[in-house]
Symmetry: C2
């Protein structure tokens, strides 16, 4: 299948005006996010599991340990859904009915495969570490043979993709504008506090530049 | 089914030491969270959709508009998964293999039902608004008959529940402790910025106390 289709089943229907289908919007959300929620079916029951992820071109990658039910289910190639959500604010209208949230989310549908090619596997592990902190891959100790063997990587091709974005102030009914009710937006941000050194860390080691301060795309 | 069972399929297997099954841990995570990721099956495809939620006793509630595929799928009573994740920090070890994240997550499995009883519906809508900002329900305009009619509420009984928690510093292999690699944790927090008033808001209206400042349980 061609990557990145706007198919009927990923087209935003409720609040269609919030649907976004361009690559820049989708990629910016995926670059800023840290946690994906992966939905898969296991013995007739949907499961949703949070995981770190990375994107390379039109593929999303996760990793995990050899003994992992989610990776087993994903390696089988049954369809999955990968959702990344960034919550930007709480939207308080004069009426409860018009309360909302500002957010940016991406939904990806695709059929996963296990990554077995050593070159792709090495590249995806690097992307997974650098999604968390660009530059970190070059700094820390690389996986040895045993570690590589017990680390499984799953690739989900971005076959069907859409984003949904709400921003801006509350939209109240005309008739409610005169009500004596405070209305507006509480912006929310994820921020990094000062890094905490591991106990026993050599005091001669300088904190890396990518943590001074820690920032993400979009921050 | 009895609520809140620790069944085999919600028992944490990978990193079993991170599993938590007590009510206090689960409820604290659900009280702090704002967004749940709901997984459901629709025409053979798992979907994962972010949504606001609230908990009352052993039930999780969402709401949405009448024309909403997720609510249709949920109202049918097919099993769903509700996952709430709080990301607390990025754990950087000397080796890539021991990199991790600090987080608290809850996974709930249950068979949903649509809330039709007017008393339960009113109570759940109040809980949904007060999950976002306690005190807000009393302040804003209550739903009128039309608004109530087009707002559907779904209840998911917390039939099977578990939490998973990782905290603390990286755990490195003994052999890596001497490597010249910075190791530690980057703590992450969600914070609220100063509320932004809606355009045209009556300047005589005072910002409510629950937004001065905005806080959540656990913040």
């Amino acid at each position: 299948m061609e990557p990145r289709k706007k198919t009927a089943r990923v087209t935003v229907k409720r609040h269609g005006e919030r649907g976004r289908y361009d690559r820049d919007t989708v990629d910016a959300i995926l670059a800023e996010g840290l946690v994906a929620h992966v939905g898969y079916l296991w013995q007739g029951q949907p499961f949703v599991i949070p995981t770190l992820y990375a994107r390379i071109d039109d593929t999303i990658y996760f990793h995990g340990a050899l003994a992992n039910r989610m990776l087993d289910a994903l390696a089988e190639g049954a369809p999955v859904c990968v959702t990344v959500t960034l919550l930007d604010g709480l939207v308080m209208a004069r009426s409860h009915y018009n309360h909302s949230a500002n957010y940016r989310s991406v939904v990806v549908l695709g059929r996963p495969r296990e990554v077995t090619d050593p070159v792709e596997k090495a590249r995806s592990l690097e992307a997974l570490v650098d999604q968390v902190a660009p530059g970190r891959w070059a700094d820390a100790r690389q996986p040895n043979e045993t570690e590589s063997k017990v680390t499984r990587v799953i690739a989900v091709p971005m076959e069907e993709v859409s984003a949904k974005v709400r921003s801006g102030p509350p939209i109240d009914d005309e008739a409610d504008l005169g009500l004596p009710v405070w209305a507006g937006v509480v912006p929310l941000r994820t921020v990094a506090l000062d890094p905490v050194e591991a106990p026993g860390l050599d005091p001669g080691l300088r904190r890396p530049e990518y943590l001074t301060p820690y920032r993400r795309p979009g921050w």
